[in-house]
């Protein structure tokens, strides 16, 4: 049971949040120009690292805002959360 720090509402229980998978996977500029393989990678393929992962969360039971987080998938520990209009933190 994590305590997740919503950038707006502050720390809330994990149950208040909805997971959104890998962050920073933008919708392609012009999908029509992509090959089937390139499109498939956008639709289905996401990173799945063991360790630090930049991912999307939504405070669904609270302010309903999406935000990003750097979390370690091995320890589950959140290293940082940041708003969508903030750049991905530079991590060592």
């Amino acid at each position: 049971m994590q305590l997740i720090a919503c950038p707006w509402c502050g720390p809330r229980e994990e149950v208040e949040f909805h997971y959104g998978g890998q962050a920073h996977v933008p919708y392609p500029e012009s999908p029509a120009e992509l090959s089937d393989e390139e499109w498939a990678h956008y639709v289905f393929f996401r990173d799945n690292p063991k360790g630090r992962f930049a991912e999307r969360w939504n405070h669904s039971a609270g302010c309903r805002r999406w935000f990003n987080a750097i979390r370690d998938t091995a320890t589950y520990r959140f290293e940082s959360v940041y708003r969508l209009d903030e750049p991905k933190p530079v991590t060592p």
């Binding site: 049971m1 909805h18 289905f44 690292p49 998938t73 589950y76």
Partner: protein
């Protein structure tokens, strides 16, 4: 008290108390050799079964199984041991039915008491759409030669009297699909049976041997770098389940799987009350009473990616609420132990098996919650694929390429039953 009375008061052995003993000899703790014809990465159920069938069906025995921890210590030791083949799509039911047929002869094949108990599996329906999906699956199963029936609530009660089939609960049981040949087995016994067979065939089972990288030459992998040195390999099979991505990242292969925690739990030993296996997606619970009498239950998949082999407790709490709702007599059963595994889930909830961009590397992942029940099936099919260097018909539909063409085997989209 006297000696005589003591014998008089001695109670008979509790039913189920005596599981068959494990044999006096299991496997050598092998040291890695310099080179093998086939290196299987991952000493879980799939890796061990593949090793066994490589030897048994194809006479390939210069094989190493590399396990980063202790043999069969991952999902194989953590799953809820449900075995069934009543999947919706032809491709799925084919491989799982192939597995089920092997399960039925596995005790003899392995000469190991794996306690495969064909007590049947009930998949409960709680909504009208559940009923439609259930009938659809039952009819598909029948046409595919998989034993399946649709049961009305009173028939459900006959098979599992402790299920709450009253109509005044929040989500009344409207019926269930039933696969009589489905059941459970003892996971450790299964894994160790495969391990012992593989070991007998001369295959090296190498523990505490973590893969740290691969040596490649063009589109071939020539060696596997491990914490116990580099091992050159003629062919490499990846059977690492939840850790697949860690390996494919080393190889630069992108695989559309996500690793999630999946929790399970067990109660104390109880007198028999639950003769079958019951699964419910709507009220989310799946439960069986294992051989010794403990209730074994699975909970839901945690939503986030996780390699921690643990999940959040609120999922267990919800699971308990569902269990008590569906089985009121479970109220004072006790949660004895909880644990978690790592399931590798693919976008269509079907496995990804077969060739990779590397000529001599074979992929086997994405089984999600279906891995255990598939064990002998995928073991034999993957062994065939490795031996003949072409996908066995049972795994042919499960290519990586289907995500590009869109020819998914969408057990997920079709709302088939998980686990």
């Amino acid at each position: 008290m006297t000696l005589g009375s003591s014998h008089a008061t001695r109670t008979p052995r509790t039913p189920g108390a005596d599981l068959p003993e494990h044999p006096d000899s299991l496997w050598r703790d092998a040291e890695p050799k310099r080179s093998y014809d086939v290196v299987i990465v991952g000493g879980g159920g799939h890796g061990l079964a593949t090793a066994h069938y490589l030897a048994k069906n194809h006479g390939i025995t210069n094989v190493a199984v590399l396990e980063k921890g202790w043999l069969a210590g991952g999902n194989m030791a953590r799953n809820t041991t449900i075995i069934r083949s009543n999947y919706l799509w032809d491709e799925s039911s084919a491989i799982y039915e192939h597995a089920l047929k092997l399960w039925e002869g596995l005790e003899e094949d392995l000469d190991y008491p794996i306690l495969f108990s064909q007590r049947g599996v009930l998949n409960l329906a709680h909504t009208l759409q559940d009923v439609r999906d259930s009938v659809r699956r039952v009819e598909a199963n029948k046409l595919n030669g998989v034993d399946a029936e649709w049961l009305e609530p009173d028939e459900v009660r006959k098979i599992c009297p402790v299920v709450n089939t009253s109509t005044d609960i929040r989500y009344p049981v409207l019926g269930a699909t039933y696969q009589p040949r489905a059941g459970i087995a003892k996971h450790d016994y299964v894994a160790w049976g495969f391990a012992r067979r593989a070991d007998e065939a001369g295959i090296d089972l190498i523990q505490d041997c973590e893969v740290t990288g691969f040596t490649t030459d063009g589109n071939r992998v020539t060696g596997v770098q491990t914490t116990r040195g580099t091992i050159s390999a003629g062919k490499v099979a990846l059977c690492a389940a939840g850790h697949t991505s860690v390996l494919t990242d080393m190889l630069g292969i992108r695989v559309p799987v996500q690793s999630h925690p999946l929790q399970a739990l067990v109660s104390e030993l109880l007198e028999p009350v639950h003769p079958t296996v019951v699964m419910s997606n709507a009220v989310h619970v799946y439960v069986s009473q294992a051989h010794k009498g403990e209730l074994v239950m699975g909970a839901g998949v945690d939503s986030y990616n996780g390699y921690g082999q643990r999940g959040a407790f609120h999922i267990i709490e919800r699971q308990m609420a569902a269990a008590v709702e569906l089985f009121p007599v479970f109220a004072r059963a006790h949660l004895l132990r909880t644990w978690g595994g790592i399931v590798d889930v693919s976008p269509d909830a079907s496995p990804i098996v077969g060739r990779t961009p590397y000529d001599n590397v074979y992929l086997n992942c994405g089984w999600g919650t279906g891995g255990f029940k598939a064990t002998p099936g995928i073991g034999s099919a993957l062994a065939h694929t490795i031996a003949h260097d072409e996908p066995h018909p049972y795994v042919a539909p499960f290519t990586l390429d289907r995500f590009v063409t869109g020819a998914l085997v969408d057990e997920h989209g079709a709302a088939a039953v998980a686990h």
